[in-house]
Assembly symmetry: D2
């Protein structure tokens, strides 16, 4: 975690004050349950709440740290400090429990709290994506596969697919949250020998957790692995949309641009530049969040009933992955909400290549008019290449601008060069009446390609 990429709402979850507060609640609720069972005096439980239920101020935290320096054991330090407040009856606290009961249950609460914030972030992101999708539902732009112009799509479909992707991840995170929100108070080695399972059930209920069916002093780490792999998937989807925006903002594409605040400077050396720095930054943060995945998986295999190798890892990745993802999602929400889109430029890009994006439409038309797939393919590819050539692009003779013959030269005066070349193709003319082809291509190409947008939106947004 670094302050630059942190937000207080998430950071506070991982701060000592929140941690000790949760520890206190676990212990205090456990006292209530133990008192109810007659294991400790009811007066003791009452004293814990009455005398110990105070905020963990910096002074208290400093006192705990001081004790830990001596004992080298954080839980004993915590209990000792608590006893300084509760007094004599402090000795009943933690009866039959082991440190891990408190530590692991606390971590579960913290991860659940973090998950709740991230789920809120995802809701906000979904809302922003939906708004942008609706706004740009029919805003036509060229679709690209392999970075190469393919066929038209709409900006709205781009937003809609990210919406669908993050919606899936929301469900995954809900499942992961459920998976990690368990409470273990089962004592040493998890046998409940020294503590009644009713205590665990009581504390679980009070903290909104599920009792861990079987723990071995620790809550099993496959749960945590599930949590962190889920964050890794969300991070990767974030990289996905960030990559899309970075591409759309390229100088040569300019179909979208991150919002650029007044007063913001682009480059110290090149003042003319407006760079997609937010989405580049999100790309990096996706890598940061994903860092947690491998160690979380390595943490699953502990020695016998438990070892503590997972602990330092979780002290790191617990805060780092959640704080970074929270920051990044908020940044992404803002980026999506304020993303500047350039519909005119989208149309320019779309129309820049002489109607070549209708090549497949022609191909289908030919095969539906009794031309074999092979022949149709050759006809269309041949003429598509002539369109490229008329734009000065001859892949087979790259060393110089291609010389255009008269027919090729003629193409440059036509908007739909694909049709122009096809109408000069002898094989095509032998196969069908060019007028039929003209009728086809006179229809609005954009409408043709976007005619199912409604259906898709219905599927995505219901």
């Amino acid at each position: 975690m670094i302050p630059r990429y942190s937000r207080p709402e998430m950071t506070q979850i991982w701060e000592p004050a929140n941690k000790f507060r949760i520890w206190f609640e676990i212990e205090a609720h456990a006292c209530d349950a133990l008192a109810e069972l007659g294991v400790i005096p009811k007066a003791a439980a009452k004293a814990v709440w009455e005398k110990g239920n105070k905020p963990y101020t910096d002074a208290r935290i400093a006192r705990i740290d001081e004790i830990e320096l001596e004992t080298k054991h954080d839980m004993i330090a915590f209990l000792t400090e608590l006893a300084e407040h509760v007094g004599e009856e402090g000795r009943f606290v933690h009866q039959g429990m082991t440190s891990s009961d408190v530590l692991d249950t606390c971590l579960a609460v913290q991860m659940a709290q973090a998950a709740d914030i991230l789920l809120d972030n995802l809701d906000e992101l979904l809302a922003a994506l939906k708004v942008r999708a609706e706004e740009t539902k029919y805003m036509a732009c060229i679709g690209r596969s392999h970075g190469i112009h393919a066929e038209p799509t709409t900006m709205g479909l781009k937003f809609a697919r990210f919406y669908a992707e993050f919606k899936r991840s929301k469900e995954r995170l809900q499942a992961a949250r459920k998976d990690i929100a368990t409470c273990a108070i089962s004592g040493a080695i998890g046998t409940f020998a020294n503590i009644d399972p009713a205590v665990e059930e009581y504390v679980a209920e009070k903290l909104g957790l599920t009792p861990e069916p079987i723990s071995t002093q620790v809550i099993p780490r496959d749960r945590h692995a599930h949590f962190f792999t889920t964050l890794g998937i969300i991070a990767s989807s974030m990289e996905n949309i960030a990559t899309e925006i970075r591409h759309l903002q390229r100088t040569e594409v300019r179909e979208a641009q991150e919002y650029f605040a007044p007063g913001q400077k682009g480059s110290s050396a090149m003042p003319h530049k407006r760079n997609p720095i937010l989405t580049e930054n999100l790309t990096g943060m996706a890598r940061i969040v994903r860092m947690a995945v491998t160690p979380a998986l390595e943490n699953v295999a502990l020695w016998h009933e438990r070892d503590i190798s997972h602990s330092s890892v979780e002290r790191m990745i617990g805060p780092d992955a959640t704080i970074t993802l929270n920051f990044a999602l908020k940044r992404l929400i803002g980026t999506v909400a304020k993303l500047v889109v350039y519909p005119d430029n989208m149309m320019n890009q779309l129309n820049n290549f002489g109607g070549i994006h209708d090549a497949q439409r022609v191909l289908l038309f030919l095969t539906q008019n009794n031309v074999s797939r092979e022949t149709a393919y050759k006809i269309v590819q041949r003429n598509a290449m002539l369109v490229w050539k008329s734009f000065g692009i001859d892949p087979d003779n790259p060393d110089s601008t291609p010389e255009l013959n008269a027919i090729e030269q003629g193409a440059t005066e036509h908007a739909n060069r694909l049709f122009y070349f096809l109408s000069h193709d002898e094989d095509l003319k032998a196969a069908l009446d060019v007028k039929d082809l003209k009728r086809l291509l006179d229809e609005d190409s954009i409408s043709y390609h976007t005619k199912r947008v409604d259906v898709i939106f219905q599927r995505v947004f219901g």
Copy 2:
């Protein structure tokens, strides 16, 4: 994938014959739907099924490979070969579709098939774990945290916790299977411009898949990431149980041992050894399966509507991760089912240290008898250390075997050395009547520690 760690049931999913078979089914079902919509002649769809519905023999596969060598495009090679069987009407196949429609839907089918096998494997593993758990439910052994003897538990609880862990992963895999079992037939860029969504719905239903709500020529890769991260979690749990068995088989522990087949040799150089090679091997295979996680996450961010960077990765990790995990789970099932356990040795280990595992029980007893936590802790720790010393272990004077004074020497003749030392402790005697302590420790320690096994089994197995 390497033959050594492969089983035919899983391997065949990834072989060309199965892949082409699925491609054929996608195309043939799509033809039916297209014929129903009137896009292609019904006779064409009929011809595809009648003439094309033949096994993909080695000869057919070789023919496809031959065509691919020329066209450098696998889908075109497949369609060309199919047309050689179907004849004239072959040109109607693949109408309005794009290669990815077939490739991605096929991959979804293959992953679903793989998931089904893995789910069967998990069921078999759960069954084996349950049998062993029931058998060893009350088989007492020492529980260990940090590799250090802690308090008694039972072998049954070990099996039970792995049961619970794999049961969670079964649910995760069911969710991941659902996530990846989608069908996309949406044409170039996924706009359905050239194909009716009804085709996708029809094929999805025929193949037992869900229609992909929004695809962009490709099925979004967050779904695949979810699949592979889930395999990674299962692999890590496999490492967890493998680590446990490796520890139990250590020479000094010998509480369990992998089954050693007649005729099997342990070591070419050291004939006396019986090594936990299966579980060491499973540990390595866990690493292999986990390898798929990071590239699967890196595959999520594609350029614009699609690029093909994910493809080579999936050709590798699709087979590798599923085949290895299938092999490993089967090996694990056998290992669990045949694991030799040594209850006598467990009891020896348990009783090897003079009753020291009851230290906490004494601690609780003291605090419940008005001794402060701090004092109680000191008393118990002090005497626990004396127990160690009586066994010749003095952590504070490690350089030589400790000299024992008369009292310490006396301890060596007592089974419960902890009680022996406590009964000589002045502070303790000042605090309570040693007879009460004796009464406590005369009760069966094992029963004390295992008294909740039933409750836990009830939670785990219902």
Copy 3:
């Protein structure tokens, strides 16, 4: 490893015939050394070479597999089969050695063989990059940071930087090769109790390896980790150049294009497309090679003197990482060597934006003429934005094509719109004489930006 991405030169290293051949050589050389020491009869060593030194045919390999099925121990199977050829004196083979002596030394030989091929590949790649760098040394194109046009550079500099990067990796691989090329023949637990260190030294020398200073039955795995992390770095550099080519081939950029063979088809659905599929494929293969890194690091920590958890991992990543990287490097070499470049289009891109790439040059000129950095920055940024606006791009009013006032309209008739706007800027005119600025910008911009290409080439190519 999958056949699609494999080349025989590398594949054969990992095949049984090569492995058993190396095993044989290790054993046979060891026999010579043992005979020299008088541990075994000289006749035995002679017999091993005379009767055992035959190719490992499929028949021999099948026989070994058959024996292994019974003994479940590959080394014993190998020795048994060898004894079937050598006869009576076969019993002297492997004296005092342990399986790992042979297995680990063999792996070292295989990794060294693999490294040699990869080093050759890198040499070939470096040669190709150098040729292309020289060819395109002064071929001007726009440099881009953040995907945004920045200042001119040359295509040659692009090739040169990849040359420098792979040259560094060549040195890294040489170091890693040295690191893994060690020979361990130290017997059980590595103590040399049962075998003289002279045997190890002799075999090492014969196989071109270094004796492992201290082994513990196994060669320490930090060496292997070094090898695989090095492959991971090379793979990442491969992704780097692949990403560059994919960007240059984008429809909107078209500055370079992968060579497209006659007869090759681009897209089954969209015949007009020429996609950068080789470099997309290389991007995926980079991920595949990198998969080996994490398990190789996890393999370093073995239990006590050795466990076998590393073995299955290495059976997988040894072949996979080297075979895939070899295939990928050869593909990259071809891609680089045959890459089609479009210098005219590079110049078009460069000149597409009214000279805006000279913005920093103006900025420097202003600051060198007594304008403060702050003021200079504001002047240049302001006018750079006007240039964008004159191209119809107004980031601050994205919703529609900006209305141009008279001055802005006038710009559209100037090639160097940046100068045009600057010469209308009152603050600038107040600060200096516009004629001086004109003189500056009349100089050839390309020459200005490429004037150090020679220096850089000198540094890179010497």
Copy 4:
């Protein structure tokens, strides 16, 4: 980075004060070089040093942060604040440079500083390992493969192998340090168009760096990847030794123990325990350091001449990996230096199994006495199994303690049970004279197994 696992020596490298100090030095040295070249006035360079060369106090840092809030550009904020000190001539600072020149060169300096500390740590660790190796050079203990007793080795050999391993990593880190210690001051896109390469050479020399032969505004990230993969290897070796210690401290093994400070508490619930928490913690920290490897590799492929996706990652992993590794190495040094070893217990473990560790010695003896390998193996394995049985361990009848026949019962009174059983073996007696075997086994077994320790130490320590 979290304070718990941080040491000031490393932390300060990554703090703003150090970063800005390095930035200042880069800029100030660059001014000197620019002045020398006549690009800026010598007075300006002088002013920068005279007025700007002040510590970066909290107040200065706060001022920079304040400016950054407005400009959203850290380098401009830095330069603006610097100009507030330098005055009018501040405008000459950063002439022709780009932010990355400063940022990347600064990162190189910081990584080199970090590497220097880590190299010191490794030296200290090597020294500690050497001391312990010498101390325990002939301290015999059982060697274990697969966690199973194999043959004797010495504690000194354990320390020696870790010494050799970390020595290799020291050389790797030296190479990586060299790789990342480069200086780039090449201006926008790295063409040196706006700045003379002499500036870079001058600054490089002043800062102890090498000039980057070819940069593209950024220093290529394969260098950084090399740095972080090297840290990953060191971390894995750390996990290796930590795993060894954790095993040696197991209750059943007790051959070594982490030093336990007076006043330290082991377990809040189980006061008798002394846990290997330092090495478990180091195991976790190894995972933390390794987290940096994958994102560092992902950072290599940047878009065109640069993008900023690497930046956030490096802000995280730069400090995290180096601070954690520094902390961990220091902890490891202390752990090694103070590790308590138990030679008596080592001997007990060694002798616990009736001389079975000499099984291979017997095997060799038999084969050298004309018994075939196969027969010898069977004889030795059979009798080794009888030894186990006499200890109550019958792998083939695990369900109960084996019944011993008279001969087996007789074994329990012999220290060398292996010899006892062999001397009753009819096949063995048929093959050789038992007296010869007795002579062999009467020799000191430990001396036999440790006779090459000197040779190995010579190789490792020279």
